[in-house]
């Protein structure tokens, strides 16, 4: 059997198998909207751990981290630190959010913001921003999937065709099964992916250089300074890494789908307990980087698309069926987070933008129906972005982070600081997002200021935070404080 055929067969088994497993919960019975979106709030420790972990190890970890290692060197190591810190933030924030969600029947992040500030318009604004910045994240998953299938078929299926096929499958299982479908497939995907990434991360440096240390010695000799900051870039220096770490660790749980997932936990202790053990998962981020660095030394001629380094080196060294297995695991790592993102984004749109816009309560059945149609529309939008505005995977992720982290003052200070007010939330969010849009569109990311190179999202967050605190102090009254206490504790 030729390599092409073997790779295609193996990858098809993975993708179709996962789709079937994902569809089972939806076929067995009809799901209510609450079951579809937050799994009936019944997930225990293990299932919740897998959902949270599964979110993180996406196409970005698999292909993006190796791609950045290949192209940028040292700055990539920021990826080793940020999730660890994000779990510390999550340890405090999630157990506070989850019981409020449960008591008041909240399903989405804008629901939560609306409840916290008793403001429907703030909820709508949050939803719009959330949808806008989840699109690059969805695009990231799509692009990753395209890269994988393109390499696995040795170019026989083009990127665009590949993305079309795979996303039809994702949309199908989200449409039928919602979050339960995501959770069951996440378990399978995580196990396969950890094994695959760990194996290649350790084996490939060993195969070519006799060990990880030897590989780094060779790379340091061939390209002195590439493994420190700013590595293969001009401006991703120490200040960039520090500001990016602050942005991404604070912003991690500001992703609308991650807030929504905390509503699916049975009780706050589940979330706290998971936060303690999740940092260990972060070690898996190291392995794809090892692959990227090895690829940089051994693949000639140099790759035009650095994000393809992982798949290309596997294709060079191993037979087709191995490539198929890696591709299969990688495809799942794109499809499952994509499914989760689609689900959350469609909920944001239906519940928090469309419903208030229509101006009356829709029947729960109609709402669930619309949410499912929106899934298809969002897929199409992300697909169009992936085809017409391609970008490197890590850059897509950082754009999304810059946007969603602007929720941090409003949500976290809003939870812990009783003087936070609605007007301050509006002002901070609008100022923060305006700066993000301006800096990114004007290509001023990172922003060179006072001899530092700061991540644009970090600059926006700093201004946002200052505005939020100042306006809160100016506008808070005894009445707003007591309403706030009721929103948090009542």
């Amino acid at each position: 059997m030729s390599n092409e055929v073997a790779a295609i067969i193996v990858i098809s088994v993975f993708v179709i198998g996962a789709t079937i497993i994902g569809m089972i919960p939806g076929l067995r019975k009809t799901l209510s909207l609450e079951e579809w979106a937050v799994g009936g709030r019944s997930f225990g420790r293990t299932l919740n751990w897998f959902i949270l972990a599964g979110e993180i190890y996406t196409a970005f970890a698999f292909l993006g981290a190796s791609g950045w290692a290949y192209a940028r060197g040292g700055p990539t190591f920021y990826i080793l630190g940020y999730c660890t810190l994000a779990y510390v933030v999550g340890f405090y924030v999630l157990p506070k959010i989850s019981p409020i969600g449960r008591r008041h029947g909240l399903v989405t992040q804008p629901d939560f913001v609306e409840h916290l500030y008793e403001s429907r318009s703030l909820g709508i604004l949050t939803a719009c921003v959330g949808v806008a910045f989840m699109l690059p994240y969805l695009q990231l998953q799509l692009t990753g999937l395209g890269i994988i299938i393109e390499t696995c078929t040795y170019g026989a299926v083009t990127r665009t065709q590949a993305m079309l096929i795979a996303f039809t499958l994702v949309a199908t299982f989200v449409y039928l099964s919602g979050l339960k479908g995501v959770a069951t497939t996440a378990v399978v995907k995580d196990i396969v992916m950890i094994l695959a990434v760990g194996f290649f991360g350790l084996y490939l440096p060993y195969h070519f250089f006799g060990g990880v240390g030897n590989m780094f010695e060779a790379l340091d000799a061939a390209k002195p300074g590439f493994l420190a900051l700013p590595g293969g870039t001009k401006n991703l220096d120490v200040s960039w890494v520090m500001s990016t770490l602050v942005l991404t660790s604070l912003g991690f749980y500001m992703w609308p789908h991650l807030t929504a997932n905390s509503f699916s936990a049975k009780d706050p202790d589940v979330l706290r307990h998971n936060a303690v053990y999740l940092p260990f998962y972060q070690i898996c981020m190291l392995f794809p980087m090892l692959v990227g660095f090895t690829a940089l030394l051994v693949i000639t001629p140099a790759l035009k698309v650095p994000d393809m380094s992982f798949m290309t080196i596997v294709q060079t060294v191993f037979p087709g069926w191995v490539l198929g297995m890696v591709g299969g695991a990688g495809a799942l790592a794109c499809m499952i987070p994509a499914a989760d993102l689609l689900l959350s984004t469609s909920m944001l749109f239906t519940r928090n933008i469309l419903r208030p816009a229509v101006g009356r309560d829709l029947a729960p059945g109609t709402q669930a129906q619309i949410a499912r149609v929106v899934v298809l529309l969002l897929t199409a939008t992300a697909l169009a972005l992936a085809i017409y505005a391609p970008s490197m995977l890590v850059n897509l992720l950082l754009t999304g982070y810059s946007g969603v982290t602007q929720f941090f003052p409003m949500i976290v200070l809003g939870l812990f600081w009783k003087r936070a007010t609605k007007i301050a939330a509006f002002c901070g969010l609008l100022v923060g997002e305006a700066i993000v849009f301006y800096l990114i569109l004007a290509k001023l990311d990172p922003l060179a200021i006072w001899g530092l190179n700061l991540n644009a999202g970090f600059v926006a967050l700093a201004v946002n935070m200052a505005v939020f605190v100042a306006v809160s102090l100016l506008t808070s009254t005894d009445a707003t404080v007591s309403r706030k206490v009721r929103a948090i504790e009542g």
Binding site: G74, F77, L80, G81, T84, L85, Y87, V88, F91, Y92, G211, V212, G213, N214, F216, E217, D220, G225, L227, A228, L229, V238, V241, M242, L245, V246, S249, D269, R272, H273, A275, V276, Y277, P279, F280, Q282, I283, L286, M289
Partner: protein, 70 residues
Amino acid sequence: MVKIVLTLIPFIWIIGCVPFINQVKPLVLGLPLLAFWPVAGIPVTFICLYLLYGIVQKEEHDDKEAGGTK
């Protein structure tokens, strides 16, 4: 106070130390120093969170006891 210190340690380790570890050599466990440092931050963070978890659980337990005797 203990809680604040335990919360800050991971941030100081992973973010605060970056200016001092921006070098390739020495390789530690085969990794460049810049990469080894955040990896070492994982067990450090685990220990901090583990201790914090114990403290928070004890607090909640005490709260419940106090609530019960009222």
